[in-house]
């Protein structure tokens, strides 16, 4: 499955949940396919999507919160997996699009071809950690995690496919902050 196909499967499953996006390919692909007010596009600060998502999940315990992460980001902030596991927010679903490369900088290899990130999450203490390889598996796996208690982890293995012509996020960072905060104020 190509990375874009994973987004095409996943994005229609979203309702009004806040989704914190990792920088690079993740932000750009999601923004291009389906922009949403409740999307927080983290364009810099690599590694921090998971901790931002944890902060939202802890302060908004009645909302299901999704982190849409990449393998490079998870590897950069593996300690945050421990923080998420230790705080154990029931409302956090951590989805990782794993293409095994740093795609937006020219597809340099990451380490996730040899380090199974879902096992790292599970052994850190996530309640559930699933790995899917085929696009047909995404919907049932995601819905299962959305309907059960977290923190949960969904690793989606994909092939790199990023088209550098895919646009960058056009909202300014301040606009992203304001839109996202507005979406969280609504019940």
């Amino acid at each position: 499955m190509r990375g874009t196909e994973a987004f095409q499967e996943l994005l229609p499953l979203l309702k009004d949940e806040p989704v914190v996006h990792a920088n690079g390919f993740i932000c750009r692909e999601s923004f291009t396919l389906k922009d949403r007010e409740a999307n927080f596009y983290m364009i810099g600060s690599m590694g921090l999507a998971s901790s931002i998502g944890l902060g939202v999940a802890l302060c908004k315990p009645d909302r299901k919160v999704i982190v849409l992460d990449g393998d490079g980001n998870v590897l950069m902030a593996m300690g945050t997996l421990a923080m998420i596991a230790a705080q154990a927010p029931k409302n956090l679903v951590h989805v990782v699009i794993d293409n095994e490369v740093y795609e937006s900088t020219g597809s340099q290899r990451s380490l996730s071809n040899r380090v199974p990130l879902e096992l790292v999450a599970k052994s850190s203490g996530y309640r559930e950690a699933l790995r899917v390889n085929r696009k047909e598996e995404i919907k049932p796996a995601f819905e299962k995690l959305m309907n059960s208690e977290g923190p949960s982890f969904l690793l989606i293995k994909v092939e790199p496919c990023f088209d550098p012509k895919t646009g960058r996020v056009t909202h300014t960072p301040e606009e992203i902050t304001n839109r996202f905060m507005n979406s969280l104020r609504r019940p």
């Binding site: 914190v20 590694g47 999507a49 931002i52 902060g55 302060c59 945050t80 301040e174």
Partner: protein, 168 residues
């Protein structure tokens, strides 16, 4: 003048509606963290790295909470990219309580260089700060709250050795 302690300072922050605390410990801040762990009106989330704590605070702010980040100045290097590519450009404020190890060159070797450059790094990054003292607390907090609530930018309080009690 009423006494200035870890308890009175944290209670003051809680009254100003700061109720989400996280950080990485420093001995100079140990009294603050001990008190945070027993107080009911606030929560303290242990972070494993200072930049993860910046992210956690950003998530809390986006959700409507006012966050506080406690850290040693040795963590400033880890945080600079987070401050410059997240907080400053997204206008996501945070109150940073940063212990000042290596101040005046009198400390363990690993603290000397960062102790010398902490203020310069904050200034270079465009991060406003003040050195907190018992006698300037009201005025410094007023400045910090203005920065956070009106400009939506971070503000740092540098904490010198001996300002708060150390529990270790």
């Amino acid at each position: 003048m009423s006494s200035f302690t870890s308890k009175t300072f944290i209670d003051r922050l809680i009254r100003e509606n700061f109720k989400f605390f996280t950080g990485v410990p420093c001995s100079l801040l140990s009294g603050l963290i001990s008190y945070l762990e027993e107080v009911e009106d606030a929560k303290y989330i242990p972070s494993v790295r200072e930049d993860s704590a910046v992210g956690l605070c950003a998530g809390a702010y986006l959700s409507g909470s006012l966050p506080v980040l406690l850290m040693q100045n040795s963590g400033l290097g880890y945080c600079l990219n987070a401050f410059t590519s997240l907080n400053l450009i997204y206008r996501i404020p945070v109150l940073v309580i940063m212990s000042w190890r290596g101040q005046g060159g009198k400390d363990a070797p690993e603290h000397i260089i960062m102790g010398d450059i902490s203020q310069k790094l904050l200034e270079t990054a465009g991060m406003d700060y003040a050195v907190l003292k018992p006698e300037n607390c009201d005025q410094v907090l007023e400045t910090a709250l203005k920065k956070i609530n009106e400009e939506k930018l971070p503000y740092t309080l540098l904490i010198e050795k001996g300002l708060f009690d150390e529990r270790h």
